[in-house]
C-alpha cells in the first residue's frame, strides 16, 4: 500500500520535473542537437539562444510591456476593489447588496461573451495598440473577483471597531484608511498575487487589441514566435523561460503566499 503511494507521488513529481528540466536543457542546445539528443544534457552550455532571441526579437520591449501592463492593472484593480469592498460592506440596506451582486455576477460571464463588444469599444476609443487600453480592460475584467475576495474579508472585521471609531468622530475616509486598509493587508496581498499571475499570463486581450510589435506583451509575443520558429524548440523555450522567469523566481521565494493567493482566487472565483 505504502509503496504504491510512493510510486504515484514520484510519478507525479517526475511529470513536472522532467519536462521542466528538458525545457531548461533545450534552451542551451542547437536545433540539430535537439533532434539527436532530446532528453540529455546539452553538449556545451551555449547561451546562443538567449543572445539570438534578444537580437532577433524586441524581447526587452515585450518584457517591459508586460511589466507595465501587469503593474498598473494590479495596482488599479486593488485600489478600486478595496474602495468598493469597503463601501459595500459598510452600506446599509439593499443598495450595498445590489451593488455587490452587480460585481459578483460578473464572475460568471466568460471572456468570450463581452470580447466582441469590447474589441469594438476599444477600437472606437482609439485604444487598440496601446497599453492603456489593455490596462483599462484588465482592471474592469478582474474587478469582480477582487471585490469578492476583499469584501469577504472586510465583512469578517468586527463591527465594533467601526462603531468605536464613529463614536470617536472618525469619518468614512479615516475609517477606511486607518482601520479597514491596514487590517486587510493579508487579503490584499493574496489578491495581489492572484491578479499578478492572471495579468502577467493573460493572452486573450493582447490577442484582440494588439497587432503592433511595440505594444505586444510576452504571452502574445510567444504565440507569434510559435508561427515564426515552428519547430525551433530551443528558441521557443528560451522565450518561455524568459517570460516565466519573474513568476518562477517570485514563486521560489514566496511559495506560501502564491499558494494562498491563487487558492483564494479559485475558491472565490
Amino acid at each position: 500500500m505504502k509503496i504504491i503511494r510512493y510510486i504515484l507521488l514520484a510519478l507525479f513529481a517526475a511529470a513536472i520535473i522532467v519536462p521542466m528540466l528538458v525545457v531548461i536543457f533545450t534552451t542551451f542546445k542547437s536545433t540539430a542537437e535537439v533532434f539527436s539528443n532530446i532528453m540529455g544534457l546539452p553538449s556545451s552550455w551555449s547561451i546562443e539562444n538567449y543572445v539570438s532571441i534578444f537580437v532577433e526579437q524586441p524581447m526587452a520591449k515585450y518584457f517591459m510591456n508586460s511589466v507595465i501592463v501587469t503593474l498598473f492593472s494590479v495596482s488599479i484593480t486593488l485600489i478600486l476593489a478595496s474602495f468598493i469592498a469597503y463601501s459595500v460592506t459598510r452600506m446599509f440596506g439593499w443598495i450595498g447588496v445590489v451593488i455587490f451582486s452587480l460585481f459578483t455576477i460578473g464572475m460568471m460571464v466568460p471572456a468570450q461573451v463581452n470580447m466582441i463588444p469590447l474589441y469594438q469599444l476599444v477600437f472606437d476609443l482609439g485604444l487598440t495598440n496601446s497599453l492603456l487600453g489593455l490596462i483599462l480592460v484588465n482592471t474592469a475584467v478582474t474587478l469582480p473577483v477582487a471585490v469578492f475576495i476583499l469584501s469577504g474579508f472586510m465583512k469578517s472585521l468586527p463591527k465594533s471597531l467601526f462603531e468605536a471609531a464613529t463614536i470617536d468622530g472618525a469619518n468614512e475616509w479615516k475609517m477606511y484608511y486607518k482601520i479597514a486598509l491596514p487590517l486587510s493587508v493579508p487579503s490584499l496581498a493574496a489578491t495581489a498575487i492572484f491578479l499578478f499571475v492572471m495579468h502577467w499570463n493573460d493572452l486573450l486581450y493582447p490577442l484582440l487589441f494588439i497587432t503592433n510589435n511595440d505594444y505586444k506583451t510576452l504571452p502574445l509575443a510567444l504565440l507569434e514566435f510559435q508561427g515564426e520558429y515552428a519547430t525551433n524548440y530551443p528558441l521557443l523555450f528560451t522565450g518561455v523561460l524568459i517570460a516565466s522567469a519573474p513568476m518562477i523566481i517570485a514563486y521560489i521565494f514566496l511559495q506560501r503566499y502564491f499558494i494562498a493567493g491563487i487558492t483564494a482566487g479559485s475558491v472565490k472565483g
Binding site: 463588444p117 469582480p144 514563486y251
Partner: protein, 293 residues
C-alpha cells in the same frame, strides 16, 4: 435615514463602478444586442435579424454542435481526473511534514505558468517525432503505444485535457488539503473503535467532511475547463478537422477570422447560458448529495 452615510460611501465606489460599467457591463449587454443582428464587424451598417442567428445555430450548425460535444468530453475528462488525482494526492500529503510541504509546492508549480508556456511544453512532449512521450515509450519498448498525440482526431481532445489536468491539479490539491486538515481527529478514533475499515473510514468520515471542499473543487474545475481557451488555442487552434474545437475557440474564430460578429455574439450568448445552467445544476446536485449524508 441612512442616505447621507450611503452617499459618502457611494463616492468610494464611483470610480470602480464607472470603469466596470463602461468596460464590462455595457459590453456584456451589447453582446446580447449584437446577437440579433447580421453585423460583420467591419461595415457601418447591419440588419436586425431577430432570432435568425439562434435558429441557425440550434438547427443547422454542425460545427457548433461538434464544439459543444468537445467541450463536454474535455470537461468530463478533466473533472474526473483532476478531482480524483487532487483528492488522492491531498490524502497522501495531508500531514505538514517537510517532504509533503515540498511536494505540494512542486505539484502547485505549473499553476503559475502561462497557458501559452504550458501549451509549448506539452506540444514538445507530444511531438510525434522528437517528443518526450514517444521517446520514453520507445525506451521502454512500448513503441506500439506511440501516437501522433495532437494530430490524431480521435485522441487530440484528450491529449489537451491531460495537459489541463497537469496544469491545475496542484491548485485543487491545496483546497482538498485544507478541507482534510480541518477534519477533527476524534471522528477517526470513533470510526476505529467501531472497527471501520479503510473504505468505511473514507465513506463515512472523510467524504462527508470534505463535501464543501469537493463542491468548490468540482464547481471550479467544471467552469474552468468549460471556459478553457488559451491552452487549446495555443496547442491546436481547434484542429485537426475541428476535433479540438470548443465553444470558446469557435466563437473567437467566427468573430475574428470569419468576421461574423452578429453570429459569433449569438454563439457567445448560448455559451453563457450553458455555463449558467451548469453552475446552477452543479450546486443543486452537490447540495442534495450533502443533505443525504
Amino acid at each position: 435615514m441612512h442616505f447621507k452615510k450611503n452617499k459618502v460611501l457611494f463616492l468610494f465606489l464611483l470610480p470602480g463602478l464607472i470603469l466596470y460599467s463602461i468596460f464590462f457591463i455595457v459590453p456584456s449587454l451589447n453582446a446580447i444586442i449584437y446577437s440579433f443582428t447580421d453585423w460583420d464587424g467591419l461595415s457601418p451598417d447591419f440588419n436586425v435579424v431577430g432570432f435568425e442567428n439562434y435558429i441557425q445555430i440550434i438547427t443547422n450548425d454542425s460545427i457548433f454542435f461538434k464544439a459543444f460535444t468537445n467541450n463536454l468530453k474535455f470537461m468530463l475528462f478533466v473533472l474526473i481526473f483532476q478531482t480524483g488525482f487532487s483528492l488522492l494526492f491531498a490524502m497522501f500529503l495531508i500531514k505538514n511534514t517537510r517532504t509533503n510541504v515540498f511536494l505540494r509546492a512542486l505539484y502547485f508549480f505549473p499553476t503559475i505558468l502561462s497557458s501559452v508556456s504550458v501549451a509549448f511544453i506539452w506540444t514538445f512532449i507530444y511531438d510525434p517525432n522528437i517528443g518526450i512521450l514517444n521517446t520514453v515509450l520507445s525506451s521502454l519498448n512500448l513503441e506500439f503505444l506511440q501516437q501522433s498525440w495532437l494530430g490524431d482526431q480521435n485522441i487530440a481532445i484528450y491529449s489537451v485535457a491531460v495537459t489541463q489536468v497537469w496544469f491545475h491539479t496542484g491548485q485543487m490539491l491545496i483546497i482538498f488539503v485544507a478541507g482534510l486538515q480541518a477534519i477533527p481527529e476524534d471522528l477517526y478514533e470513533v470510526a476505529d473503535i467501531e472497527g471501520a475499515n479503510r473504505w468505511q473510514r473514507f465513506r463515512h468520515v472523510t467524504w462527508p467532511m470534505i463535501a464543501p471542499s469537493a463542491t468548490i473543487v468540482m464547481a471550479y474545475t467544471t467552469i474552468q475547463s468549460f471556459k478553457a481557451f488559451d491552452l487549446i488555442f495555443a496547442m491546436t487552434r481547434g484542429g485537426p478537422n475541428y476535433s479540438t474545437e470548443i465553444l470558446a475557440t469557435l466563437i473567437y474564430s467566427t468573430a475574428f477570422r470569419s468576421f461574423e460578429f452578429g453570429y459569433a455574439s449569438a454563439q457567445s450568448v448560448i455559451f453563457m447560458i450553458v455555463i449558467a445552467i451548469i453552475t446552477v445544476a452543479q450546486f443543486r446536485i452537490l447540495r442534495a448529495s450533502r443533505v443525504q449524508e
